[in-house]
């Protein structure tokens, strides 16, 4: 994948099947947002429990303290182990906790990374965790480092489909590998880049297309479609 060579937030792992597959690591900002969403959910549960406990007196207080303790320490463990590494907040932000070999996280890893949350929180508001995340190569907080876990972006299912109206056109000269890749990328992304910018890019390829402006762009797209195998 071209992107993985250019962007350093990708990390690839060789699987037992002998292939490398890569995922984008989640940076501090999305993770903080996911944490805040989880905090919100927990806050709601605390509030509900608090109201319930109010009716039950001493018994309710005990129950409240026990449940808040469990939520405080084991809420993430529960979701990471039973819900494929996704707490509700992480799910909303499209994140997932995995082991460093990209296998699903198990009990041991999840317990370690969440018990070490206190260390990440030190001295306050996750300063230690944030520093560790910024300094480590794969955005790992202290708990992640000790547990050998990563937080990755889950790819969403969305393939920008090729514009069906493009007429395939055979290139009139031999193209280098880099040229082929460039032309294909431009063709595939033709719906997500503005028209003038595409023309600008196509002008760089004027020696290949033999024309500039919208005509050059149309020819280039045609070549892209041909290279992709359209007939």
């Amino acid at each position: 994948m071209q992107a993985s060579r250019l962007l350093d937030n990708h990390c690839s792992v060789e699987t037992p099947e002998g292939i490398d597959f890569s995922q984008a690591m989640a940076g501090p900002v999305v993770r903080i947002l996911a944490f805040l969403i989880d905090l919100g959910w927990r806050g709601l549960i605390y509030a509900a429990l608090g109201m319930l406990a109010g009716f039950l007196g001493g018994f309710g207080l005990g129950l409240f303290l026990i449940l808040t303790f469990l939520l405080e320490w084991f809420y993430p463990v529960f979701f990471e182990v039973f819900r494929q590494g996704q707490t509700p907040g992480k799910k909303t932000m499209g994140l997932r906790v995995v082991n460093e070999d990209f296998t699903p996280v198990g009990w041991g890893g999840s317990v370690i990374r969440n018990l070490l949350r206190t260390a990440d929180f030190f001295p306050l508001f996750y300063v230690a965790g944030l520093l560790s995340m910024v300094l480590s190569r794969r955005f790992q907080r202290l708990g992640d480092l000790a547990a050998g876990t990563l937080v990755v972006h889950v790819d969403r299912q969305q393939a920008p489909r090729l514009d069906e109206t493009i007429q395939p056109r055979m290139p009139q000269q031999a193209l280098s590998r880099a040229e082929r890749q460039g032309i294909i990328s431009l063709t595939v992304r033709s719906r997500t880049i503005s028209e003038p910018r595409q023309q600008e890019l196509a002008d760089l390829m004027a020696p290949v297309t033999g024309s500039t402006g919208s005509e050059g762009l149309a020819r280039l797209r045609g070549m892209g479609a041909w290279l992709l195998g359209r007939k």
Partner: protein, 322 residues
């Protein structure tokens, strides 16, 4: 082969896999040919990369492989009684294997406690180096032999409320002792040392004040579980700290990871013991109806039981022989 032909040829397989994998995690393993299909898609991914097919196709395959990888290599994450038993057995094995750390942690806890205890017993001002006068006064009222219930001040709260309090407070401390290990073990040393000093000061102060008769029977029962658990959490933290200071032949991070994987086994058992401790503290230790002799002897038995369980029980042997 052109990209479109490649896509056309295998699209059916990919769609079938996508349908299965996107269905979510709770579905049982797709079918017996799943591993085979998954490996085929792995092959497609590397082919697609090799042939410089478009990013869209490579991303789609990459995603499919990621999902398949997760499904194929998922761990058994079900919780069951058997797993709990296994965790306890792993705990016992780990305690014995890592006894050096347990001993260090115990010394770190007991020595300051003894020094502080003896000091506070001999001179009142010594205790005040740790305890504030307000705390000292509160302690005295807590262990006043005239009280109905012992331990932390309680008005109308029931025993369950105290159970909740002990859980959230005491287990939190123990977890912090573990987590502090990441800071080269300094956090662990600080937490364990301070708790030792505090316990020593309280014991010495109350003994001096003549309240030992209520304090010892109160502490002995749950102390068996709680103090041992704090020492074990300290040992787990020390392991982590030691791995960072002295990683041996490993890279520091690798050493940390291995130490954490071992330390977490200690934490399983320690957490379990802390829950038991909170239970005993709330429902047994605090009772003032029971005769002192009973509480002391049951407490002594609990100590023997905990030490036997951690260091002499045959749980380990049974695990090894399996």
């Amino acid at each position: 082969m052109k990209e479109a032909d490649f896509e056309q040829r295998y699209a059916a397989l990919w769609q079938r896999l996508e349908a299965v994998l996107d269905a979510g995690g709770k579905v049982p393993p797709p079918d017996e040919r799943f591993p085979e299909h998954y490996r085929q898609v792995c092959g497609h991914l590397s082919t697609a990369r090799q042939r410089d097919y478009s990013d869209a196709l490579v991303n789609r395959l990459n995603r499919l492989v990621m999902l398949g990888h997760h499904r194929l290599y998922q761990r058994d994450s079900r919780a069951s009684l058997q797993r709990l038993a296994e965790a306890l057995a792993a705990f016992v094995t780990a305690v014995r294997r890592q006894r050096r750390y347990v001993i260090c942690s115990a010394l770190l806890f007991v020595v300051p406690a003894l020094v502080m205890g003896v000091g506070a017993w001999l001179s009142e001002s010594f205790a005040y180096s740790i305890l504030s006068p307000a705390q000292a006064a509160e302690l005295e009222s807590m262990y006043d032999p005239g009280n109905d219930r012992l331990g932390a001040e309680r008005d109308s709260e029931t025993d369950l409320a105290m159970f909740g309090f002990y859980i959230s407070h005491n287990i939190g401390i123990a977890f912090k002792a573990f987590a502090g290990g990441v800071f080269l073990g300094l956090g662990t040393v600080a937490v364990v040392l301070f708790n030792g000093l505090y316990l020593g000061a309280v014991t010495g102060y109350l003994t001096r004040a003549g309240l030992g008769i209520t304090f010892y029977p109160f502490v002995i029962g749950h102390g068996a579980f709680e103090l041992t658990a704090i020492v074990i959490c300290g040992a787990a933290g020390l392991m982590i700290g030691h791995s960072l200071i002295h990683p041996g032949r490993w890279r520091r991070l690798e050493a940390l990871r291995q130490a954490a994987a071992e330390a977490v086994k200690l934490m399983y058992g320690a957490t379990f013991m802390l829950f038991v401790a909170a239970f005993v503290e709330a429902f047994w230790s605090s009772s003032s109806q029971l005769p002192v002799a009973v509480k002391l002897s049951v407490g002594a038995l609990l100590w023997l039981f905990v030490l036997w369980f951690c260091f002499f029980s045959s749980l380990e042997a049974r695990r090894e022989s399996r």
